[in-house]
Every structure is written in structure tokens, then in C-alpha cells.
């Protein structure tokens, strides 16, 4: 009798194990406290392989690591933005405020994660790292787009100055046409990024994923301006080279 009971218990445990493994493998089977079902890094049920205390610690470490990575990136981003040429004071100040607010928010999340005592509160805080701030999806790209637009304006200014100097040095029609081609390409580059900063400046996590369209449009504008500047530089350099040859 005892033996039969033991066999029955073992079978039941085996069935439960198989069943729970199947549930864990199924995308629709999520624990209610699972942070974000689709997020690979926090997707697995930590209690499946660890004791509850260990699982909580593991989730806390995961959150702390994710926040640390973002804070490092934002520190580097702040440095790039501070050094960037061609970014207006207003845009720079607005973006530095965005970075500061995101850093402060992530630091508050880090504190909440460290202080969390239940899996629910910690997993909510971990999910908020991404959903609440979108540092990598929105903030980093938009700052780089604004820096890029500023660089385009800088390059355009330098090319316009160089073309103006060369016009006074050349005396043949072909060279003048090349300079006109260069100036037209510079004008296209300026036009491509004219509205870039204003179109991305106000994007934040609340508009995700819809605001990805504006970021993609901004990227295309920057690529186009970069291409036009390359063409303009080629024409200007060709004229400069011919002037050097003529003047010895």
C-alpha cells in the first residue's frame, strides 16, 4: 500500500513537472508578475530554477545592470552633445535637460529596485527601465540626429565660404559651373536637415512606438544631406585643385 502511494506521488510530481515545463515554453503562459513577456532578458520565470530569494536577487541584478548600461551611455551622450559644434544653444539645453531627467528617472528606478521586497514591485520597476524612458530607442537616436544636423550646417558654412573664395580665383566657365553645382548641393543638404532638430526634439518614451517614424525620417534626411555634402566637396575640391595648378 505504501509502495503504491509512493509510486503515485512520484508520477504526480513528474506530471506536474512536465506540465509546468510545457507551460513555461508556451508564449501565452506567463505568470502575472512576469515583467514583460516579450523581453528576452527578463522573460524567464526566475523561480523556475531558483529559490524565491535567489530569483528576486537575480532580477534585481538584471535591473541594476540594465540601468548601469543606460547611465554609461547617457554619460557619453552628454559629453558628445556638450562638445558638438553647430547645435543651437536652445536645442543643446533642451537635450541636456532630457538627458538629466532620464538619468534622474533611471536612478530613482535603481533605488526602487534595490528597495523592492516583492517580485511584483521589482519586476514592475525593471519593466519601467525600458517602457518609462526608452533611452536607447528614442533619446540616444534623437540626440545624435540633432548633432548630425548641426554638423551638416557647419560643413555647409565652410563649403559656402570656400566656394565664394574660389569664384574670385577662377576665370573659366567650367570651373564656375562646378562651383555652382557644389553650391546647389550645399543648399540641398541644408534644406534636408532644416527641420530635423525640431521634428525630433520633443520625442519621448510616451510616443513609442509611433515616434519611431519621425526618427527614421530624420535618419533618412541626415543620410541625404551627407550624400549631398560629399558631392559638393568633390566639386569644390576639383576646382581648388585646378586653381592650385594654374597658380603654380
Amino acid at each position: 500500500m505504501k509502495r503504491r502511494l509512493r509510486i503515485g506521488t512520484v508520477t504526480l510530481v513528474a506530471l506536474l513537472t512536465v506540465g509546468s515545463a510545457h507551460l513555461a515554453a508556451s508564449p501565452s503562459a506567463q505568470h502575472p508578475w512576469s515583467p514583460v513577456a516579450f523581453r528576452p532578458s527578463v522573460d524567464q520565470d526566475p523561480t523556475a530554477t531558483s529559490a524565491p530569494g535567489e530569483a528576486l536577487d537575480r532580477l534585481k541584478r538584471l535591473g541594476a545592470t540594465a540601468i548601469g548600461q543606460r547611465l554609461d551611455s547617457l554619460g557619453a551622450l552628454r559629453g558628445s552633445l556638450t562638445r558638438a559644434i553647430g547645435v543651437s544653444d536652445t536645442d543643446r539645453a533642451a537635450l541636456l535637460d532630457d538627458i538629466a531627467a532620464t538619468v534622474a528617472g533611471l536612478e530613482a528606478v535603481r533605488t526602487a529596485i534595490a528597495a523592492g521586497t516583492t517580485f511584483r514591485t521589482v519586476s514592475d520597476a525593471v519593466a519601467n527601465i525600458v517602457d518609462g524612458y526608452r533611452a536607447y530607442s528614442v533619446l540616444v537616436p534623437k540626440v545624435h540626429l540633432v548633432i548630425g544636423a548641426g554638423l551638416v550646417d557647419q560643413a555647409a558654412d565652410v563649403l559656402d565660404d570656400a566656394n565664394a573664395q574660389l569664384v574670385s580665383l577662377v576665370d573659366d566657365e567650367a570651373a564656375r559651373e562646378l562651383l555652382a553645382t557644389s553650391s546647389a548641393a550645399v543648399a540641398r543638404a541644408r534644406a534636408a536637415v532644416a527641420a530635423l532638430a525640431s521634428s525630433v526634439l520633443d520625442l519621448d518614451a510616451t510616443g513609442w512606438p509611433g515616434n519611431e517614424v519621425a526618427l527614421d525620417d530624420g535618419k533618412r534626411a541626415l543620410v541625404s544631406a551627407r550624400s549631398d555634402l560629399g558631392d559638393a566637396l568633390g566639386s569644390t575640391a576639383e576646382v581648388a585643385s585646378s586653381v592650385e595648378i594654374a597658380t603654380g
Binding site: 516579450f38 523581453r39 528576452p40 532578458s41 540594465a66 548600461q69 543606460r70 525600458v130 526608452r134 533611452a135 536607447y136 530607442s137 528614442v138 540616444v140 537616436p141 545624435h144 540626429l145 548633432i147 548630425g148 554638423l151 551638416v152 557647419q154 560643413a155 565652410v158 563649403l159 565660404d161 570656400a162 573664395q165 574660389l166 574670385s168 580665383l169 519611431e212 526618427l215 527614421d216 530624420g218 535618419k219 541626415l222 543620410v223 544631406a225 551627407r226 555634402l229 560629399g230 566637396l233 569644390t236 575640391a237 581648388a240 586653381v243 592650385e244 597658380t247
Partner: protein, 91 residues
Amino acid sequence: MQRRGALALGGAGVAALLALLGLRVLDDGCDGAGCTARTPENTAVASDATETSTTSDRSVDASIDHVEDILRQIDAELPSATSEEERELTG
């Protein structure tokens, strides 16, 4: 008088031929239209023009280098200007 006129015509003919051949005589102040006597004044003007031209060339060269540097910076910005959803999900 006739001899001097013939010499002048000859000189003009040689200058015209040189001009046709594309050979412009710059050093002695002569070109296809005739010669200008070299004086301290016009030599100084020529030097100024050369100096201005050379300065402009250097300035343009520096500008081109500067633009090349800026374009490299734009190239460095472009990958980071991409929305990094994947990194967001796994970071």
C-alpha cells in the same frame, strides 16, 4: 621710323603666335597684347596678387580638410542615430 615700325609689328606677330600656342610670357611682363615695363610698383602688385592667391588656396585647402573631418563626424553619428530597439529589449 619705318624700320622701328617693322620691328614693332614683328614683335607683335611673335607675341600673337605665342598667344595662339597658349604660351603666355608672364615673367617679363609681356603678353599677346604687348609688354609692360617692369617697375617696382607693378612687380609689387604682382607679388601681392600671387600672395593673395596663395593665401586663398591655403584657406580653401584648410576648408576642404575641415569639411572632410566634419563628414567623418557625420558618418560616426549615423549608426547611433538609429533606433536601437533590439538593444533596448535585451539591454
